[in-house]
Symmetry: C2
C-alpha cells in the first residue's frame, strides 16, 4: 500500500511526473467530476453527500477517497479544472478574432459569445462557481480567488489592448469594467438557462452585444 494514493502537492491531475500516462484513474476521476458537478450545482456542496456522488459515478464510496483526499479537495479540483476550461475558451475566442484582423471590441464580443456557449454547454459548473464565489468562508477562498483571477485577467487584457489601440477611452476603469462584463454575461446566461430556456443563443448574444456596444442608452 502506497503512502499517499492521491496527489500530494498542489497541481495534480493524476499523471505522475515521469511515469506512464495513468491507467483507469483518469477515467474514474473524470466520472467523479461529472457526477459531482451536477449534484453540487443542484443541491449545494454541503447538501450533497459523498455517497450520492459515488453512486452517480457508479463507483464505491472508498474509490472517492482513493482518488481525492476529501470531499473538499474533490470540489476544489473540480472547480479549478472547469474554470480553466472557461478561461481557455475566452482566451481562444479573443485571440482568434484579433488574429483574423478583427477589432479589440470585436474580440470582446467574441468572448461574450464564447462565454454564452460555454455556459450553455455546462451550466452546472458556472452555477456552483457563483454559488460559492462570494462566501466569506475561509475554506475555498484561495481556490476561488485564484480561478476568478485567471478568468478576469483574460477580459482585462483584452480591455487593456483595446484602450492601447485607441478603441476605448483611456478613462475606462479596466478592473471594474471587466468584473461588470463578466457578471453581465454570467447572470444573463444562467438566467437564460434557468428561466427562459426557449430563447436562442443568438437572442441572448444580441442583447448583451447591444449593451456592450452602447446601443442601449447611448448609441445611434
Amino acid at each position: 500500500m502506497s503512502v499517499l494514493p492521491v496527489s500530494r502537492g498542489g497541481a495534480g491531475d493524476g499523471t505522475a511526473p515521469g511515469a506512464a500516462p495513468a491507467p483507469r484513474r483518469a477515467s474514474t476521476r473524470r466520472r467523479l467530476f461529472e457526477a459531482a458537478v451536477v449534484l453540487i450545482a443542484e443541491q449545494g456542496f454541503s447538501a450533497t453527500t459523498v455517497d450520492e456522488i459515488a453512486d452517480r459515478a457508479g463507483v464505491a464510496k472508498g474509490t472517492v477517497y482513493y482518488n481525492f483526499a476529501s470531499k473538499n479537495v474533490l470540489y476544489e479540483e473540480l472547480l479549478r479544472d472547469g474554470m480553466d476550461l472557461l478561461s481557455g475558451s475566452l482566451r481562444r475566442a479573443a485571440d482568434a478574432t484579433v488574429a483574423a484582423g478583427g477589432s479589440h471590441v470585436g474580440a470582446l464580443d467574441a468572448m461574450i459569445r464564447a462565454g454564452l456557449d460555454f455556459i450553455a454547454g455546462s451550466p452546472a459548473l458556472m452555477q456552483l462557481y457563483v454559488a460559492e464565489l462570494w462566501r466569506t468562508n475561509r475554506t475555498w477562498r484561495a481556490t476561488l480567488t485564484s480561478v476568478r483571477g485567471r478568468a478576469l485577467t483574460v477580459v482585462e487584457s483584452v480591455l487593456h489592448d483595446a484602450v492601447a489601440a485607441g478603441e476605448l477611452s483611456a478613462e475606462l476603469d479596466i478592473s471594474l469594467t471587466a468584473s461588470a462584463l463578466l457578471g453581465m454575461v454570467l447572470v444573463a446566461a444562467l438566467d437564460w438557462q434557468s428561466f427562459q430556456p426557449d430563447r436562442s443563443v443568438e437572442d441572448v448574444h444580441a442583447a448583451l452585444s447591444r449593451l456592450l456596444q452602447g446601443r442601449v442608452a447611448g448609441g445611434p
Copy 2:
C-alpha cells in the same frame, strides 16, 4: 398550547389579521433574520445549524421553532422579506427620478445607484440570493422565482417606459436586457465588496453607468 404556533398559510409576518400589532414576536423574528442572513451567507444554508442561528440571535433554540415552522421556512421568509426591500428601493429610486423630471435612462442610472447602495448596506442578503437562485433544486424554487420576478419587473417597467418615450430603441429585448442589467449590478457590487472593498461607490457607479450609457464601446 396552540395547534400551529406560526403562520399557517402563505404570507405571514406575524401580525394576526385583526389583532394587536404583535408584541415581542416581531422583534424576535427580526433578530433571527439578522442572525440567519449573516450565517447563511457565510457558510451556506446546509452548513449553518439552527443552534448557531439561535445563539447568534441570543435566543433559545425552542424560540426558533416557536416562530418558524422549520429551518426551511425561516430561510424562505428571510429571502422574501429582504428581496422585497430591494425591489422597493429600486422602485422608489426610479419613481423619484421620473417625478423630479429626469429621463427614463436617468431612472435606470438611479436604480443602479440604489442597487449598489442596497448591496453595500447588506451584502449578505444578496450573497445568499445569488447562491441559491439558479439551483435546479425544487425546495425553494417557487420562492426564488417569485422574488426574482418582482425585482426584474421593476427594471423591465422602466425599460418599457423608456422605449415608449422614445429614449431607447424599440428593438430592445426588454426581458433579456433587464436580466443582464440586474446581473451586471449584482456581480459588480458583490465583487466590489469581496475583492476591491477599497473602491468607492462612486467609482463602481461610474463604471457601470459608463457601460449603460454606451460610453465603453459605442459612445462619443
